[in-house]
C-alpha cells in the first residue's frame, strides 16, 4: 500500500477533526476531513484520500488508488480493535492515565521495581523468598498460560521486598507479582 502520497497542494481545508490515538500503545496523531465526499486522513506529511463505504457494523470499505481494502473494527470498552490486510491493531484515545500494561517491570521509584506478568496466567512456581538477594535476569516466578511456561525475571540486582502472589493464583498483566528493592550501595 503506497497510497499515502505526500501532502498535495491546493484544496481548501474544511472542518478538520484531530485525534490523539494510542496504536498498540504508541501515540499517534491523525486529522481527518471530507472533501466532496472523499475522506481525507492525514498524519504528518502523509495523506490518504479514499472513498469510504460502510458494509456492516464491523466492516468498512476503503477505495483508493484502484484498490479496495476491507477494514474490520470491533469496539471493546475503551479500545477499538482493527484489522487491515490480516494485521490487527488496538487503537484507543490517548489519555494520560492510560499506561502500557503488560510491559513487565515497572519502576516505582528509583529504588524498587514491581514485577508484573506480561500476560494473564497461573502462577506455577515462586523461585525466591522474601528477603532473598537476587541478581539481574534471575527467575523470580513462573507463570503458566495455555500450557506454556513463562519465566518472569528481575531486571535489576536487589532484594525481594514483597511477594504478592502464591502458587496457583491466577494473575493478569495489571497486578504486581513481586517487588524487588534495589540494593543500597555498600558504603
Amino acid at each position: 500500500m503506497d497510497d499515502f502520497g505526500p501532502l498535495a497542494g491546493g484544496g481548501r481545508d474544511m472542518s478538520v477533526a484531530v485525534f490523539d490515538f494510542l496504536l498498540d500503545g504508541n501515540p499517534r496523531k491523525i486529522s481527518v476531513e471530507t472533501r466532496d465526499g472523499i475522506f481525507v486522513a492525514r498524519e504528518g506529511e502523509r495523506v490518504l484520500e479514499a472513498e469510504v463505504r460502510r458494509i456492516t457494523a464491523n466492516e468498512l470499505q476503503f477505495r483508493f488508488g484502484g484498490r479496495s481494502v476491507r477494514v474490520y473494527l470491533a469496539r471493546d470498552g475503551e479500545r477499538t480493535f482493527v484489522s487491515v490486510d490480516g494485521r490487527e491493531f488496538a487503537v484507543s484515545e490517548s489519555r494520560p492515565e492510560i499506561g502500557r500494561p503488560g510491559e513487565g517491570d515497572e519502576k516505582t521509584a528509583e529504588t524498587s521495581f514491581r514485577v508484573r506478568s506480561p500476560m494473564p496466567g497461573k502462577v506455577t512456581k515462586i523461585a525466591v523468598v522474601e528477603g532473598e538477594e537476587v541478581r539481574k535476569n534471575q527467575t523470580l516466578v513462573i507463570v503458566e498460560a495455555m500450557k506454556m511456561e513463562n519465566e518472569i525475571k528481575t531486571a535489576i540486582d536487589g532484594v525481594v521486598k514483597k511477594i504478592h502472589v502464591a502458587v496457583g493464583d491466577l494473575v493478569d498483566s495489571e497486578r504486581p507479582l513481586i517487588e524487588v528493592e534495589k540494593k543500597s550501595p555498600s558504603p
Binding site: D2, S15, F21, V52, F81, V82, G86
Partner: protein, 504 residues
Amino acid sequence: MFGKILIANRGEIAVRVIKACREMGIGSVAVYSEVDAAGLHVRLADEAVPVGPPPAAESYLDMDRILEAARVTGAEAIHPGYGFLSENAAFARLCEERGVVFIGPNSKALELVGDKVRARQTMEKAGIPTVPGMTSVSTSLEEFRAAARALGYPVMVKASAGGGGKGMRIVCDEDGLVPALEAGRREAKSAFGDDSVYLEKYIEEPRHVEFQVLADNRGHTVHLSERECSIQRRHQKIVEETPSPALDPELRARMGETAVRAMRAAGYNNAGTVEFLLDKDRHFYFLEVNARIQVEHPVTELTTGVDLVRQQILIASGADLSLRQEDLLPRGHAIECRIYAEDPKTNFLPSPGRIAFLREPKGPGIRFDSGVYEGFEVPVYYDPILAKLIVWAEDREAALRRMSAALDDCVILGIHTTAGFLKDVVDHPEFRAGRATTSFIGKFFPSWGRGDGEEDRERLALAAVAYEALARTSGPKGWPGRDRKKDRATPWTTLGRWRAGGET
C-alpha cells in the same frame, strides 16, 4: 455402528468430531470444564456433561469423571481427540475394562508407542532407523550427564509421554542440562501427568516429515502419504502441507512402506502417524508414533479425499478398512496454518481473552476448522489453538497464493492471534521455494514486528477508527452509535456537516 459417542476434548477438534458424528447419524456427548460451559463444542453437541473445574487435570484429564459421563449418557464409545487423554494407555485400558470403545489404538499398542523409549527399542528391532539416544528413562543426573556426553552436545530433552513439543528442551552444553531437565519434567508433568524424560541426539536442520496411517482391527494397514511439518516454533508445528517439497515418488514409497512396517511392528490399529526426521542427505529416522488423530489431519483429507475421523469411527466400530494402498493417490496440494491465541509481536506470549469480532475466511478450496466464535472468552487453561485454516489447490504455488489471501480474509479481533505472522511465513521466499527446515522460524523469524507497508496499514487503521468515531458522534444516517459516549468535549462534536463519503 455406535448410537452415541462421547468426545473427551474441547475446542476445534471436539467440534470436528461432533460434526463427523452428526453426518454419520451418531449422537454426540460433549464434556466441559467450568470455564468451557459456553464452548462451541458444548453448543453443538446433542448432550453436554460438566466434568469439573478449569484445570485440565481436574476435568478433561480426569478419567473417572469422563467415564462416568459416558455411563450416565449411555455413550458406547469415547473419541479422545488429540492431547488430553488421547494417548493415555491407562485410560484406553480403563475404557476396555468398562466396555466402552476407545476410538484409537488398542491399549497395548498405545502403551508401546506412547512410551517413546520402548517404541524406539521396538523400531530398532524391526530394522527401522531411529535417532541415536538413551534407550531407557532415568532419574539419575549422573546417567543423564553420561548419556549426554556419549551422544555429544547438543542433545534434546524429551518427555517419554511426550507430544506437541511439551517437555522438550535443546541443551547445548553441560551447564544447561540441569535446568533443561527440570523444566522438561515440570512441563511434562503438567501436560501428561508423567514427568519421565530422556535424551536424544539433536539432529541439526532436519525436516519433519510424517506419514498418516490407517489400520483396521484385523491388521489391514495403509498409509495416506506424508505431511511436511518443518515449520515449527518451540517444537510446535504451525504450518503443515502435503505433499512435501522434499520427497520424490521413490523416497515417498520407501518412507510410506517403512511407516506401515512400523505400525505393524507395534500391533497398531486405528488412525496414527509415524513421524520421521529427514536430514540434509535424505536419510530418514523414526522419531515417534502419534497415536491419535492429529491437528494437521485435514491436509491429508483434502488431498486424499478420505475423511479420517469417519474412518476412525468406522474402524473402532469393527468395520474392515475398505481402502487399498493402490487406490490412495493424492491429488493437488494442501496447506494448513494453525491460528493460535498468541501475540507474535511479544515473542508469542499467550493472549487469552474475549473474541470481539470473528470473520471466517470462505471460498473455493478453503476450510476453516474452528473451536471459537464471536463473543467467546478464550480461557488461560488450555492450548492456545483457536482454529485451523486449511486450503487446497491444484499445485503448491496456487495453494500458497490461496493461503496468503485466505489469511488476509481471516479476521479475529479482541485478542492477539498468529494470523498476520503466518501470512509472512507463507509469503517468505525460502518457504515458497520449498526449502524450509525445522530451523526456518529461528533463522528467518527470530522476532516479528512491523513489516513492509506496516506504517500505511497502521495509518489506515487509525483513519478507520477516526471515521467510526465521527460516524458515532455526529451519527449521520442509520448508525446507531452503540457505545455513544456522554457529552465529552471532543474535537469532532463540532462537525455537524460531516457526511459519510463514497456513496457512489
